[in-house]
């Protein structure tokens, strides 16, 4: 199974990335996982360009494909101004609306103080619910003080177990999603045309003749 870790920390080294790595390692102990890490920081310029030019650069496109194809995601953001960072949100703003439908997602965040811990519930969970991802019940918030205190390890283990459980259970049942090289879904033109034709007298129940392509 493919696990993609999206880490939106800005500094190097970053406590956000540290949390991401600990979550991924915990998940990896519970299930055989092929893990890929997307460092959003490295995509910052391509993300900005994608907003202005309308298409993703090569590295961003590769990250989008990895996230779309993943069987599970771990997403970790620093808390900025009482929410996820703008860069974190921008990465997900540029994803196809259906890209995460049905994908189990473990949400996590880091911050300077525990007073922001509910950011997982009031910012990250609604975002991934909108994207129709399956957000695991336990989110992991790590304030500065948590790194030296008891409790973080337990939350990491519990969240990782919930994630791998969902990944194992949902992988088989999840609907296929379009890959980057798949074709378009085509509605035959005659159906589209017929859907607009108003029913005429006497035809309200029998429908209209199916249009045929013209030849010149």
């Amino acid at each position: 199974m493919r696990l993609v870790v999206v880490s939106a920390g800005l500094s190097v080294p970053s406590s956000t990335r540290l949390l991401a790595d600990r979550l991924a390692a915990a998940a990896g102990r519970l299930a055989p996982l092929d893990v890929q890490v997307v460092e959003v920081r490295e995509l910052a310029v391509e993300i900005a360009h994608a907003f202005t030019s309308g298409f993703p650069g090569r590295a961003l496109a590769a990250a989008q494909e990895a996230v779309t194809a993943a069987d599970g995601l771990i997403v970790v953001t620093p808390v900025f101004s009482a929410s996820y960072s703008g860069l974190f949100k921008s990465f997900f703003d540029l994803l196809d609306q259906d890209a995460l439908a049905g994908t189990p997602v473990l949400t996590a965040a880091t911050g300077g103080t525990a007073r922001h811990s509910l950011v997982l519930e009031h910012a990250l969970r609604p975002l991934f619910s909108y994207l129709r991802a399956v957000v695991v019940p336990t989110g992991v918030y790590a304030a500065s003080e948590d790194w030296g205190a008891e409790g973080l390890d337990g939350r990491i283990e519990r969240a990782a177990a919930e994630l791998t459980g969902l990944m194992t259970g949902l992988t088989a049942a999840r609907p296929a999603r379009p890959g980057p090289d798949d074709g378009f879904t085509v509605v035959p033109f005659a159906d589209r045309l017929a859907a607009l034709a108003p029913p005429s007298e006497g035809e309200r129940t029998v429908g209209v003749p199916r249009p045929v392509p013209p030849s010149r």
Binding site: T52, G57, V186
Partner: protein, 374 residues
């Protein structure tokens, strides 16, 4: 194969001088560019249609009629005609009138327009964009082919015994292209009717353009108009040329960096790497344009955007000299070299008329010979 230019018709300040042309100057510049296109041996001039500032061409057939009177060979077209917000009855009338005045040197490209606020100004809703394009074009198609039309639809008052006048020249409707960047529904529409499909690829990576054109070609064959290779494809391109690529980059960079569409975004280098924009020597333009065929197949119409990013008219006219003298003659030769004999040229009034007189029942323009323009 046809080569030409298309203009958006934007009024954009020249970033090197800070000067913004007046609307009159911009409109006259578009005409001068069209006349220059004929002078340097190009085949097509296409104007955009917009109904909001900073754009001037709200009345395309007025402009094209004026250009028609001052040219002899140039095919007059649009990029695009808004099939969503215009009344299809008025499109049928305006372009039939233009056909008569221009002796058949007319085709047009349907497009939806992408600006939400414009739709309500014409009593429409952008969320119905695809449905408007489908219904309005179905009516337009009939108005040009049936002398008397009874019609009822969702978006317009019904017609009873309506005849659109004047009738198309020689009873041959203008050839229609359908332009779309992202909507497979429009590629499907073009394929259904056996019309042309124009992908304005200028801001898009090649793999996206390839997928849209493959869809159109497959569906064109599905509807029995010919083989996928015989489908009628048009592409855009945008270039800035000087003798050397260093000169071109140095002169164009301030325009690129401040352009309304892509300015303040990717670097010139990234953008030229990932999209059809070419800033360099005529030889570089030739190489990049020839490579379009690698992913689009043999195609019928290549339009270049030359009056972009606030370039002054004098510079644009110099660009057209280079395009007509050095680039297009090579492209004509190279594109013709490996072209299979059964890939048709873009239909023209003459080829459509000839096809009808022969009683040809297949796709228009097929077997109409290799003449580029009537």
């Amino acid at each position: 194969m046809q080569f030409g230019i298309f203009s958006v018709g934007d009024v954009t300040p020249d970033p090197t001088t800070g000067r913004t042309p007046t609307e009159r100057e911009r409109i006259k510049a578009m005409v001068a560019i069209a006349l220059k296109a004929e002078e340097v041996g190009l085949d097509v001039f296409a104007t955009g249609e917009h109904h909001n500032p900073p754009f001037v061409p709200s009345s395309p057939t007025t402009m094209l009629g004026y250009i028609a009177a001052r040219t002899e060979k140039l095919v007059l077209s649009t990029s695009t005609t808004l099939i969503t917000t215009n009344d299809p009855v008025k499109i049928a009338e305006d372009f039939a009138m233009l056909q008569h005045l221009a002796d058949g040197r007319v085709d047009l490209m349907m497009g939806r327009g992408n600006t939400g606020p414009v739709y309500p100004w014409f009593g429409k809703d952008i969320r119905q964009g695809i449905n408007l394009a489908v219904e309005n074009y179905a009516l337009l198609h009939r108005l040009w082919r049936e002398d008397v039309v009874d019609w009822e639809g969702k978006f317009r008052t019904p017609l009873q015994g309506f005849t659109s006048t004047p009738r198309p020249l020689d009873d041959v409707p203008p050839f229609v292209w359908h332009g779309s960047i992202r909507s497979p529904e429009i590629a499907e529409q073009a394929a259904f009717y056996g019309d042309g499909f124009f992908h304005n690829n200028i801001f898009w990576p090649a793999d996206h353009t390839k997928r849209m054109i493959e869809l159109y070609r497959d569906r064109y064959a599905h509807y029995g108009h010919g083989t996928p290779e015989q489908a009628v494809v048009g592409l855009g391109g945008q270039v800035f040329m000087r003798r050397s690529s260093q000169e071109a980059v140095r002169e164009f960079r301030p325009y690129f960096d401040n352009a309304p569409v892509y300015g303040h975004g990717p670097s010139l280098e990234d953008f030229t790497d990932q999209t059809p924009l070419t800033v360099g020597s005529p030889q570089q333009v030739i190489e990049k344009t020839l490579a379009f065929r690698d992913y689009a197949g043999d195609y019928q119409r290549q339009l270049f955007l030359m009056d972009h990013a606030g370039l002054p008219l004098k510079t644009v006219l110099e660009q057209l000299d280079l395009l007509g003298d050095e680039v297009v003659p090579v492209l004509r030769k190279e594109f013709a070299a490996d072209r299979p004999a059964d890939v048709p040229d873009a239909p023209t009034h003459a080829s459509l008329l000839a096809a009808r007189e022969r009683g040809a029942d297949g796709a228009a323009g097929r077997g109409a010979g290799k003449e580029t323009v009537a």
